[in-house]
């Protein structure tokens, strides 16, 4: 797929060095600080990096999905159910779950590739609601309504963290290489202009389907990892919130870049996990203003997140990573 020169060039690039440094930091930090909560948060970042990157890859082929939670859930349920019913070790189970998710992604992709952007967004959102309904309907098979305890993948804590980081690095590098290959070039051409891409001889439907299958594979992988990390899965995994998260992560981090979804998942996971700490300071100040709610923290955070998203789209369409890049280029001068 790649010539030797390309590989050499790749290893000399700034991006590669940043990647190596980032992996080293993420390997060392939990050893130095060792706070279990920090390890928990960093594992979540790793899982959501895979998930957000998979969404980002699909968006890079011009298809903005609003229902990626369907694949997160399918991957999670498939691998957990395989482990419980057939005793398949979760480490293989998450791969089967990912493949299963990709299979469903293929079928859904068949219906989606010919749709325009807003239709596609609606239809994918619809599939996540249908998936939720089906999982609730066939509760005897899925046990989804009440949820169940998922088996152990790797011992929780540091081992799971390193496993998640290794898997995230591998997945993201694979996705990056795909985006750099000829296939990825076709994806980007389609994103810029479908009609023109078709005119220069790209089979747009075929490549959009490729993007769908690749993206749903990694979303399913993230889902399996997520289910085994939380040690619990229920139908709530299909919630719209989980569909919107990868979108926000990619857009806030920087749409279309490799580092964007990673930075975005750091920001969103940090907001979700660390900011609740300030609720107890916020509560006495704000609650007299809003007597209708018992806890003002979560809605205020989400309003902030919404404003942040809108402002990023309007003022920095390339996300936070473009800002970092600007600062880096400035310092280099």
């Amino acid at each position: 797929m790649f010539s030797k020169e390309q590989v050499v060039e790749l290893t000399r690039s700034t991006k590669f060095r940043v990647l190596v440094i980032a992996i080293m930091i993420s390997a060392v930090v939990p050893l130095v600080i060792g706070d279990p909560f920090l390890v928990h948060v960093m594992t979540l970042v790793a899982i959501f990096s895979i998930y957000a990157s998979s969404w980002n890859l699909l968006a890079n082929s011009g298809q903005g999905s609003l229902g990626h939670a369907a694949f997160l859930g399918v991957g999670g349920f498939a691998s957990s159910l395989l482990a419980i019913n057939f005793g398949i070790p979760p480490i293989i189970g998450i791969l089967i779950g990912a493949a299963f998710s990709a299979g469903i992604g293929f079928l859904i992709g068949l219906t989606c590739v010919r749709l325009e952007a807003w239709f596609l967004a609606m239809v994918t959102f619809g599939f996540s609601v249908i998936a939720e309904t089906l999982v609730s309907q066939f509760d005897e098979v899925t046990h989804g309504v009440l949820g169940f305890r998922t088996p152990l993948l790797v011992p929780s804590g540091l081992p799971f963290y390193y496993f998640a980081v290794a898997l995230a690095t591998t997945s993201i590098v694979i996705m990056y290489l795909i985006m750099k290959s000829k296939t990825g070039l076709a994806f980007r051409a389609i994103r810029q202009n479908v009609a023109e891409a078709g005119m220069i001889g790209i089979n747009t439907a075929k490549y959009k389907l490729y993007a769908f299958v690749i993206s749903t594979f990694f979303a399913g992988l993230a889902g399996g990892l997520y289910a085994h990390f939380l040690r619990y899965i229920s139908v709530t995994i299909f919630a719209a919130e989980n569909s919107f998260k990868p979108l926000m992560m990619s857009v806030i981090g920087g749409l279309g870049s490799m580092e964007g979804p990673i930075i975005g998942s750091m920001i969103i996971v940090a907001i979700d996990s660390l900011l609740p700490n300030i609720d107890k300071f916020l509560q006495p100040v704000m609650s007299p203003l809003f007597p209708a709610v018992s806890n003002v923290g979560p809605p205020l955070r989400l309003i902030g997140l919404g404003l942040f998203l809108v402002m990023i789209v309007i003022f920095f369409p390339k996300g936070v990573s473009s800002l970092i890049r600007k600062v880096y280029n400035y310092l280099k001068k």
Partner: protein, 291 residues
């Protein structure tokens, strides 16, 4: 057992609920037709409309049906703010950006509603609560009849506005060729604001009527948006008669699914309709080919 009266009642329910969706879908359709913008946060305007109706009804103690008009006005103002501050800046760029902005707006609207009104479900009690018209075995609640009348009156006014007035003509011109109409001296920015405000007002009216039939909470906005979408796709993008027929058909389909398949299918049916239509006709049922 399923007898004739159940079927007739299902049809009437379907038409009543469908007519509320028609209002929402018409607003969405209008905005799409003129601005080529898809506002995924349109259902949030319905939700805000329902809460405004609720507040007007509880605070001022006025008849809940008068609240419909106040809600229309206030939601139109919110619509103007949203158009000027958010959508104006991303219009005509990447389609994905419009989706992202709408998503951000959904977060903002939902949680502002949580802060102001709390998460508990609320309902607007109409003056005709528990009163119904008896027709043989059937009894039809007055609220549904009034809701349907409201929708008919609003739609008649809307069609007259679009067909007979100067600004309606300008809207039609902008929807056909925005650049050419700009050259003809139409201030299309003003047309955009007006269209968005009109669409928002329809959503506001739909909100109060919705709040009289169903209980609502800050999170109800998303599903009506999608249902309105399914309706637009059924009826054809940009076509008002299409939206009306699509809305009524959709309401009947949804009620039938609830009665015959069970309550959890209420929402999944929306998407099944949407997906089946889109698979067969990727541009929508009456969409133009080869755009």
């Amino acid at each position: 057992m399923i007898d004739t009266s159940t079927i007739i009642l299902t049809l009437i329910w379907g038409v009543a609920i469908g007519s509320i969706y028609v209002l929402l879908a018409t607003g969405l359709n209008l905005i799409f037709g003129v601005m080529k913008l898809v506002n995924f946060a349109h259902g949030e305007l319905l939700m805000i409309g329902a809460y405004i109706g609720f507040s007007v009804w509880t605070a001022l103690g006025v008849n809940a049906y008068i609240a419909v008009f106040l809600s229309m006005g206030l939601v139109a103002l919110i619509g103007i703010a949203v158009e000027r501050l958010c959508f104006r800046r991303v219009l005509g760029e990447d389609k994905l950006n419009e989706i992202f902005v709408s998503l951000g707006l959904i977060f903002i609207f939902d949680n502002v509603a949580v802060l102001l009104w709390g998460e508990k479900s609320k309902r607007i009690i109409s003056p005709f609560e528990n009163m119904s018209l008896a027709l043989g075995e059937l009894s039809i609640s007055y609220d549904w009849i009034i809701a349907m009348l409201f929708v008919v009156v609003i739609l008649v006014f809307l069609v007259l506005l679009i067909r007979k007035t100067k600004i309606g003509m300008a809207m039609r011109a902008t929807s056909q060729r925005s650049q050419a109409s700009m050259l003809m001296g139409i201030n299309i920015e003003r047309i955009y604001i007006f269209t968005f405000a009109l669409g928002a007002a329809l959503a506001g009216a739909a909100g109060v009527l919705y709040g009289m039939i169903f209980p609502f909470n800050p999170y109800i906005g998303a599903l009506p948006t999608i249902k309105a979408f399914a309706i637009i796709i059924l009826g054809g993008l940009g076509s008002i008669p299409g939206a009306i027929i699509g809305g009524l058909l959709y309401g009947i389909a949804e009620q039938s699914a609830v009665i015959f398949l069970g309550g959890i299918w209420r929402n999944a049916i929306a998407f099944s309709v949407l997906i089946i239509v889109l698979v067969l006709r990727p541009k929508g049922l009456f969409g133009k080919k080869g755009e």
